[in-house]
Symmetry: C2
Subunit: 387 residues, 2 copies
């Protein structure tokens, strides 16, 4: 743990089959008006919408609704939510859905009383938040993003063709998150596996940096191992509670800051995917899966020992009689095999990207990275490999 | 994650070489009067006392002191602190030291305004806390107990010869904890290794329960692996920052609730050690080391698959050609070897227990346990093995 760090995560987690029973007591902590934010029809089909409306009624709340939040939530919808908050003097934003709904809700929370243009101040210049933050609560129905336990909010500005966001301070975190793994049973398989890969990518982005011996890396390895094990069960048995509950908790742990403590972190795969997503509107986890393998094949020589460790500890590659080069590549191949097991796309072509888009995606991708800082021409090379 | 759970941990962590720089800003959050709680002379010898007094002066605080807190902090000292809080209208209790100082400070915090007898209400009947809780902040100088990031407070009632405590709600947690691994450099080796084994025991107590596939077990395995690796470095190089920082964070993670989520948990080793400690005043980690091996040798048949997994994953025992019995015992033997590496005592005799004490320790130990609920005669049998 050689780099100094601060850690503070005040989100209350209610986890399990009975988790929703805690909503009523939580609602009592806030004022009368609730903005209910959700996606399309999924929560109505599964009966969750009715359950929550009943609890809100029992708590005598005035409910304002913002529905139809898309995956890759748009800035336009976010501004619409901010307007609803101001006009109705909303006391609590209740996000019911997956990462997109929660990210949008946190964006609304930050922006409603923003002095100036929120996109410019908070999503472009990353200024400190100096306005009232409307509290957000969350009922999670999809596992992957980890948004239920952090202050992140990724929003797509359709006009500018930019998908951007960052980790805001802990007072932007959901105040409480209700995590019932059963709610994820009805998530279509493609979205389930996209979510699994999103979690996996969060863990790898934090893992692939540093050459020190750091407790955080051991925690990440445990989480990756559990994630892979439960993913394989859930693909075959979507209603296996044990597997779905592990996947749900791995997702929260994957991005609640703990798996990044005292780590420089990489995040280049996410930066590239954000622009892939802005151009193709693909599922986030699918975009990550496409970018990851060519990206890691490009950067592994710069952090080879960590890639050897990844092969050995995560994929049980017997690295004893291999060169470092062979071992590192064997690990990345196992990752590629796992992406196939998840039946996720492996090329940009499959998600509708055109060759013309590649230079635009490359030049608009933010540069982060750790073992190797890329330039736009190197990103373009990786995108071509991914095409 | 089959058992439902709640998780909430609002302690702010400042970790690293510059961690103390955050004390001033934290002090501004509280009123004028600070009760400074510490042990004997260690923090004066290392210059930390002077540094903290200077920061308190700069923050214009009125400082009341309670010093001389012993390892296995006594109820009498705790009541003395509670009196000081009441008489001086203390706004913040600042604990500077190891687990004993922090546990004592949390005890003071709970007890100062307790309506009735604190020992009876909070340490015996485990009643809900219904009085004002005075905030506690912490500057940690010794790693092991994890008290810096939880609501636990273990106190020894010398008159009744009982060492007791529990996890209180999260509002008893330190509001902030300052963790600078360099402060642990001057801890004598025996106390360092006792602390290491305390952390290890916390992790094992949580690990050895359940037969399900649970993400928490994978996290524990990562923490155990990192702990063992860094312990071996720190024994040889006490001022190896990397190792000491990992040990410090493993200790916090070992008992901040995360390593127990959705786990029944065992805790019988701690229950027996509490009484060993009450009779012998031994270092907590040393008592745990003595009890652990005979305890696990007694209970392993009731949770044999987990002990096989422990052998394989924590100690790299090649279990392929072993019976479960052999594999489980091989893991426990590796644990015994590690205790020897730590140069901790392995018999009750060494820490001054007499044969006459054994039945008293056995009959006063609280029964918890998971794979096997013991009765007093079985505890006595284990104590005889440990003698």
């Amino acid at each position: 743990m050689q780099m100094d760090f601060h850690y503070y995560n005040p989100t209350k987690i209610y986890f399990g089959k009975s988790a929703l029973e805690n909503l009523k007591a939580e609602l009592e902590e806030y004022g009368d008006t609730v903005l209910l934010v959700y996606g399309k029809n999924a929560i109505k089909r599964m009966g969750l919408y009715d359950e929550i409306i009943k609890i809100l009624e029992q708590a005598e709340k005035t409910v304002v609704e913002l529905s139809g939040i898309k995956s890759n939530p748009s800035y336009t919808q976010m501004l619409e939510g901010a307007r609803l908050v101001r006009e109705n003097h909303v006391d609590l934003i209740l996000a019911v859905g997956g990462g997109s709904v929660i990210d949008c809700s946190k964006g609304i929370s930050l922006s409603a009383y923003c002095k100036g243009d929120p996109w410019e101040r908070y999503w472009t210049n990353f200024e400190a938040v100096d306005n009232e933050i409307v509290p957000v609560g969350c009922v999670l129905t999809m596992a992957g993003t980890g948004s239920e336990m952090n202050g992140g909010s990724v929003i797509t500005n359709e006009e500018k063709m930019i998908k951007g966001g960052r980790m805001y301070p802990a007072n932007v975190n959901p105040k409480f998150s209700i995590l019932n793994p059963e709610y994820t049973y009805s998530v279509p398989k493609y979205q389930m596996t996209s979510g699994i890969f999103d979690t996996m990518s969060h863990l790898m982005e934090q893992y692939f940096s540093g050459e020190d011996d750091n407790t955080t890396d051991y925690i990440i390895e445990g989480l990756l191992e559990s994630l892979i094990c439960s993913a394989r069960v859930a693909i075959k048995e979507p209603e296996n509670y044990e597997a779905r509950s592990n996947l749900m908790w791995c997702a929260a742990m994957g991005l609640n800051k703990l798996a990044g403590l005292s780590k420089e972190q990489d995040w280049e795969v996410h930066m590239i995917e954000h622009q892939v997503g802005a151009y193709t509107d693909c599922a986030h986890g699918a975009g990550l899966a496409i970018v990851s393998v060519p990206y890691y094949k490009y950067i592994y020589p710069y952090g080879i020992d960590k890639f050897v460790r990844f092969a050995r500890k995560i994929w049980n590659v017997d690295t004893d009689h291999m060169t470092k080069e062979e071992a590192a590549l064997a690990g990345i191949e196992r990752l590629a095999d796992f992406i196939k097991e998840l039946e996720l796309p492996t090329t940009l072509r499959e998600i509708g990207a055109t060759e013309e888009m590649l230079p635009q995606i490359a030049s608009s991708s933010v540069i982060k990275g750790s073992y190797k800082k890329l330039d736009a021409s190197e990103i373009l090379e990786i995108l071509r490999q991914a095409y």
